[in-house]
Structures are given as structure tokens and as C-alpha cells.
């Protein structure tokens, strides 16, 4: 009975409450319309979501009134929905709105009853909302993590695709290999698994594979042998079926570059020997020709005096003539020797300075390592010149060696090779260092052959270099470098047609 009475009581009041809810909604909607675009914005959402959820729950509850009494229960989904869609403040707002709606709509027996029910609802719904928030946070983390994982996977794939990697089982059979490893071994990536690596690499054995210094010989199906280096990585025991990972490097190109550097080095040495021999001969010729000239002239002068002595002097004059003839013969022997060793007129061809110097990198690497110096190369502009390649390389290397020797004992020795266009016709090459420079008193003598300031050495380096530069139509000059040491520079004739060719 009591139930019924209450129901009737409530029914009586229902129309007014429904009306008030409708009023509240229409106000809310008009407010929303008023703010327009803000409805969907993040600023409005924390208020809008609990308001709509609680409103919807209210409507459902009013509808359910026909079936029975539900009190706070219909508001629980509203709070849940809010928690799923928005943050803690919105959740608190939803709880608050639910309590307000309930207190307004349902008349309770007493304040205590109302308070206890409201408190219970708050606790229960907050607990559920908290669960929802946790769930959402976990979802978000899972998404980020899987995103990152995907990215790393892609990266790993990309790296693996470019690195020749092979994995082997205990028997040395290929389990897996990347495409680039397939290229190195000369086999398609999907045909190799299951085959022995020994089929592709001569004498391959797993127990010797971790020796880094061994250069293996690879053999491709077309039977072309190539040098191969293998980096070895042992897998932990639990990796299923995979015993080792190998990283392969085809050394063909590296070996070719090594061979080229060695060849160039040998060539430079040969040219150096010839050049220095020629320089010695020229210098010797010059030094010997002076006393020969003096002796011949003195003899001739004495002949003139003897002639005045008449008949007595005549036979002496003839003897002196013979002596003069021998001196002149010595001169012609020297001349012939020099002609033999002298550089034929250079065969100058179109060359590019940057390429000629780049070619020296192997030789330069050795100089940098042994001399503990840094060599900077800085060639700019149109560097096509007329030059004899090996001779010019010799000249540049000579100047760099010279600078290295000047830098001996220097803490941070630097050598700079610069190439610049100087005029329509000339391209200048400059080699400078940050060493002690050249003492002013020595400037006159440094280019003279067989004069050296060094404990070891013949004193031929600079004079050979000068001869080379002069045979290219230039002059070798020296001044002070802005780095602090000496700067040697020379000019070459520019080759203007190379560009069009």
C-alpha cells in the first residue's frame, strides 16, 4: 500500500518534474546554440558530456518510472559513460548532477537517508568511474607502445635489408639471410635457407668463424672468387634453432683501392728516383762545368802569353791545346749524361687538380698517420689545368712531405693544400703548414740542390719540385703562411677546353 501511495504521489508530481527537466534541457540547448562552434570544442566537452549523460539518464529513469522504482541506479551508466569519454572533473560533475537531480526529484524520508544514499552513490559510482579511467589509461599506453614497436620493427627491417646478415644453425646451415647478404653470396634470399654456408664460402667452418683477421674467399655461382670478411656473433642458447649471426663484407672494392694506392705509391717512388737522379746530374753538371770553364779559360790565357815568347812557346802551346781539348771532352761527357737523365719535354695533358690530389689519399693517409699531422684539402673553382699527372702528384707530395718534416715534434701539426683560380690563365696550388717556417737567411738556399737543413735527406726535395713546376711553365715560390709556417705555391696553366670536352 505504502508503495502504491508513494507511486501515486510521485505520479502526481511527475508532470511538473518532467516539465522542469525539459526546461533545463531547452535552456542548455539554447546555451549551446548560442556558443555555436564551441559545442564540439575541447573547452565545452568536459561540461557538455556529463550534462548530456546525466540528462539522458534522467530521461531514461523517468521512462522507467512506469515499471518500477530505480532511484540512483540509472545514473550509474551516466557516470560510467562520462568516465569513458572525459576526465575526473567531468566525472565529479556527473556525480554531482546525478545527486542534485535525485535529491530534487525524489522526496526522501529524512536528511540522513538522503545523505547516506548520496554518499553511497558517490562512492560506488566513483569506484566504477575510476576503473573506467584506469582502463582508458592502459588502452592509451598499449596504443603508444604498439606504435613504437611497429616503428622499431620497420627500422630494424630497413637496417637488415641494407646489411648483409646471415643466421646459421649449429650445423652451419643457413636459417635466414637478408637480401643484401643474398647479393654478396650470389644467391636468392629464398633459395639459400637450409644450405650450408660452406657452399658459398671456401673452407668455411663455424669454429673458425670468429677469427676477425681472416679474409675468406667467397665463390659465387658464376665461379668468380672474391675476398670476404665475416663478423661473427654467437646467439644465446635459447634462440630457437639459430646458433650464430654473421655479418658479411665484400672486400673486392676495398682491395682494389688498396692495390691502386700501392701502385701509385710505387709509381711515385720510381718517379722520385728518376727525378732526383736527374736533379743530381743537373746539379753535378753545373758544379763541374764551372771549374772546367775556369781551367779552359786560364789555359787559353796562358797560351796567349806563351805565344809572345815566340818559337820557344809554340810546342807548349800545342800541349796546352791538347789539355783544353780534354777539358772540353769532360764537359761534353757531362752534357751527354745530363741529356740522358733530363726529363724529356713534358707531355702535358688536361687534368683536374682536385682529382689528381684525391688520387693521393692513400699516400696521404700514410703520411698523416706516421707524421701525426692533419692534411686538409681545399680545392675550389674550375680546376682544369695542363699537367703531367704523376709529376704533379710528385710535386704536391714532396711539398707535403717537406711540411710534415718541418712539423716534426709539433703538437698539432696542420698542413693545408689549397687550389684557387688566380686569373684567366692561371690556377694556383698552395701547400702551407703551421710549423716554424723558414728562417729568412735560408730563403736563398732552400731551392739549391744538395743543400739541406735536415739531419737526414739529400736536399733534393725542393729542387726536384722546382724543376717539376718549371717544366710546367710555372715558378715555385715561398712565403709565410697565415697558419704560421711556410707556404709554398706555384701556378699551372688552366685548361679552358676541358669543360666543353
Amino acid at each position: 500500500m505504502v508503495l502504491r501511495t508513494r507511486r501515486f504521489g510521485r505520479n502526481r508530481r511527475a508532470p511538473s518534474s518532467v516539465r522542469s527537466i525539459g526546461l533545463a534541457f531547452s535552456t542548455l540547448i539554447s546555451q549551446l546554440k548560442f556558443v555555436g562552434y564551441d559545442v564540439s570544442s575541447a573547452r565545452m566537452a568536459p561540461v557538455l558530456i556529463p550534462a548530456v549523460a546525466v540528462g539522458a539518464a534522467l530521461v531514461i529513469r523517468q521512462g522507467l518510472e512506469l515499471v518500477g522504482q530505480f532511484y540512483y541506479l540509472p545514473f550509474v551508466p551516466a557516470v560510467m559513460a562520462t568516465a569513458m569519454l572525459a576526465g575526473r572533473r567531468s566525472g565529479a560533475l556527473a556525480v554531482g548532477l546525478s545527486i542534485v537531480a535525485n535529491v530534487v526529484l525524489v522526496a526522501r524520508e529524512g536528511v540522513v537517508d538522503t545523505a547516506i544514499n548520496a554518499l553511497l552513490f558517490t562512492v560506488v559510482s566513483w569506484f566504477i568511474a575510476e576503473m573506467c579511467w584506469r582502463l582508458r589509461a592502459m588502452q592509451r599506453r598499449a596504443e603508444t607502445l604498439s606504435g613504437r614497436l611497429l616503428h622499431r620493427n620497420q627500422m630494424l627491417d630497413a637496417i637488415l635489408a641494407s646489411v648483409p646478415v646471415v643466421t646459421l644453425n649449429r650445423e652451419g646451415r643457413i636459417r635466414y639471410l637478408t637480401d643484401s647478404a643474398g647479393l654478396v653470396l650470389g644467391v636468392a634470399a629464398d633459395e639459400a635457407p637450409g644450405r650450408l654456408l660452406g657452399d658459398f664460402v671456401e673452407g668455411f667452418a663455424l669454429d673458425a668463424a670468429d677469427r676477425e683477421d681472416v679474409v675468406w674467399t667467397g665463390r659465387r655461382p658464376n665461379s668468380m672468387a672474391y675476398p670476404l670478411s665475416i663478423q661473427f656473433g654467437m646467439m644465446p642458447e635459447n634462440a630457437e634453432g639459430v646458433h650464430a649471426t654473421l655479418c658479411l663484407t665484400d672486400l673486392t672494392q676495398a682491395h682494389a683501392a688498396d692495390a691502386r694506392a700501392r701502385e701509385l705509391h710505387a709509381q711515385l717512388n720510381r718517379v722520385w728516383r728518376l727525378n732526383s737522379l736527374g736533379e743530381m746530374a743537373a746539379s753535378l753538371a753545373h758544379e763541374l762545368n764551372q771549374p772546367l770553364t775556369a781551367a779552359t779559360t786560364y789555359l787559353h790565357a796562358s797560351q796567349a802569353s806563351l805565344e809572345k815568347a815566340g818559337l820557344m812557346g809554340q810546342s807548349a802551346c800545342r800541349t796546352i791545346d791538347l789539355a783544353k781539348g780534354q777539358l772540353l771532352r769532360a764537359g761534353s761527357i757531362i752534357r751527354r749524361m745530363r741529356e740522358l737523365l733530363a726529363h724529356e719535354s713534358r707531355s702535358l695533358a688536361a687534368e683536374r687538380v682536385s682529382l689528381m690530389i684525391a688520387d693521393l689519399h692513400g699516400v696521404l693517409a700514410v703520411i698523416q698517420r706516421t707524421g701525426a699531422v692533419v692534411v686538409e684539402i681545399d680545392i675550389e673553382g674550375d680546376d682544369a689545368v695542363r699537367a703531367e699527372r704523376i709529376q704533379l702528384q710528385q710535386a704536391v707530395i714532396n711539398l707535403i712531405r717537406n711540411a710534415t718534416e718541418a712539423l716534426e715534434g709539433h703538437a698539432d701539426g696542420r698542413i693545408r693544400v689549397t687550389g684557387r683560380v688566380r686569373s684567366e690563365e692561371l690556377f694556383e696550388v698552395r701547400v702551407e703548414d703551421n710549423g716554424p717556417g723558414i728562417a729568412p737567411g735560408l730563403l736563398d738556399t732552400i731551392f739549391r740542390p744538395l743543400i739541406t737543413t735536415k739531419a737526414s735527406g739529400m736536399g733534393l726535395g725542393l729542387s726536384v719540385t722546382r724543376t717539376i713546376v718549371e717544366s710546367h711553365g710555372g715558378t715555385l715560390s715561398v712565403d709565410r703562411s697565415e697558419l704560421g709556417g711556410a707556404a709554398f705555391s706555384f701556378s699551372l696553366m688552366r685548361e679552358r677546353e676541358l669543360e666543353e670536352a
Partner: protein
């Protein structure tokens, strides 16, 4: 040949001294210099002289000596180059620069003597021609404008008749002018007169 000046530039003491001995023995006034710089810093006073220079020397090389001499003294100071370091491009370069001779060390001293004789012979001829030209110029000052016209026409090789036509005077008058010109220029014959004119133009 006696009294001609010869200057020897060579950094080698023995070469220098031997050459000076030889040249003085042959009657030249010879002086030696250690380098190009030494030579130019105490440049000897002489209207004409022959210079013998080495190429590879400290301070200033032979090529520079040749260039500077050509600029400062012209043809009055011919240069003979002697070198123990000869090559073809260098010889060509030197001959182009205007040296009279290029001799490789060691050399037969007779070769140098001949070269020097040739040098001074050419120099004497040249000086004589220059002197004659100077005298001709002095005499030309005395000619009247009309006489000068006749003189130039004669040097060009024109006959009396042609000159008469050109100047619009009678051949007889040309003959009178011609006699006056010959007297004033102190020329014994027509050919002497023509030589005077040609010498002046060189």
C-alpha cells in the same frame, strides 16, 4: 778592340777570374761582378760595353739581367750568356730576350773571343752609322725648305725631270738646287748623298 769595356757577371770566383785574365790579356777593359744585383748597384759608366753573364745566380738571374739591361741601356750594351745549365727552351727564351750569343759551359775560349769581336764589330758599325746620321742631321738644318724637298726626292731615287714635275719648276732650276744641296751636305757624289739620307732613316 783595344779599350772596349767588357763586364763579366758570374757567381763562381774561378770562372770570373779566368775570364777577366783572358779578356785583359786580349786588351779589353774587363771588370767582374758577383751577381746581377752587384752589377746594377755599381753600374759602370761607359757609353757602350759588352756584358757576359751566367744564368743561374743568387739574387738576380741572368734573364733578369738581360731584361733590365735592355730597358736601361738598349742596344749599346749587347749581352752574351754563358751557362752550365743550358736547355733548349731556355736558349730560345734568351735569344728572344735579345741576347747576342748563348754559349754552354765549358766552352772553347776562341768561341767567346769570336763572339766578342762580332759584338764589338756590330757595335762599332752601329756607332759609326749613328755618328754619320747625327752629322747629316746637323747639315740638314742649313737647307731651305725647297732644298729639303729636292734632297728628299733625290734620296727616294727620283730623276731631275720627275722632281721638276713634282715641284712644278724647270729641270734647270732643279739642277741648281741639287748643286746647292750637294755643297751644303758636303757630299762628293750623288750616291754619297743618298747614303746619308738612308742612314738617317735607320
Amino acid at each position: 778592340m783595344i779599350g772596349h769595356s767588357v763586364f763579366v757577371i758570374d757567381d763562381d770566383e774561378a770562372v770570373r777570374d779566368s775570364l777577366l785574365t783572358l779578356l785583359r790579356g786580349q786588351g779589353y777593359m774587363a771588370r767582374g761582378f758577383v751577381s746581377g744585383l752587384d752589377f746594377f748597384s755599381r753600374l759602370p759608366e761607359a757609353p757602350s760595353a759588352c756584358v757576359i753573364t751566367d744564368i743561374r745566380m743568387p739574387d738576380m738571374d741572368g734573364a733578369e739581367v738581360v731584361r733590365r739591361l735592355a730597358a736601361e741601356k738598349g742596344h749599346a750594351w749587347p749581352v752574351i750568356v754563358i751557362t752550365g745549365h743550358a736547355d733548349v727552351p731556355m736558349a730560345v727564351q734568351m735569344m728572344k730576350a735579345g741576347v747576342v750569343d748563348f754559349i754552354e759551359k765549358p766552352f772553347d775560349p776562341n768561341r767567346l773571343s769570336e763572339s766578342l769581336r762580332g759584338c764589338f764589330g756590330a757595335l762599332t758599325d752601329r756607332l759609326a752609322r749613328e755618328e754619320a746620321a747625327r752629322r747629316t742631321d746637323e747639315r740638314l738644318v742649313d737647307l731651305t725648305p725647297r732644298e729639303l724637298q729636292v734632297f728628299e726626292s733625290l734620296v727616294e731615287g727620283k730623276s731631275n725631270k720627275e722632281i721638276a714635275l713634282d715641284l712644278e719648276i724647270s729641270p734647270r732650276t732643279v739642277e741648281i738646287f741639287r748643286a746647292k744641296v750637294m755643297a751644303k751636305m758636303q757630299a762628293e757624289s750623288l750616291s754619297a748623298l743618298v747614303r746619308m739620307g738612308l742612314n738617317r732613316r735607320v
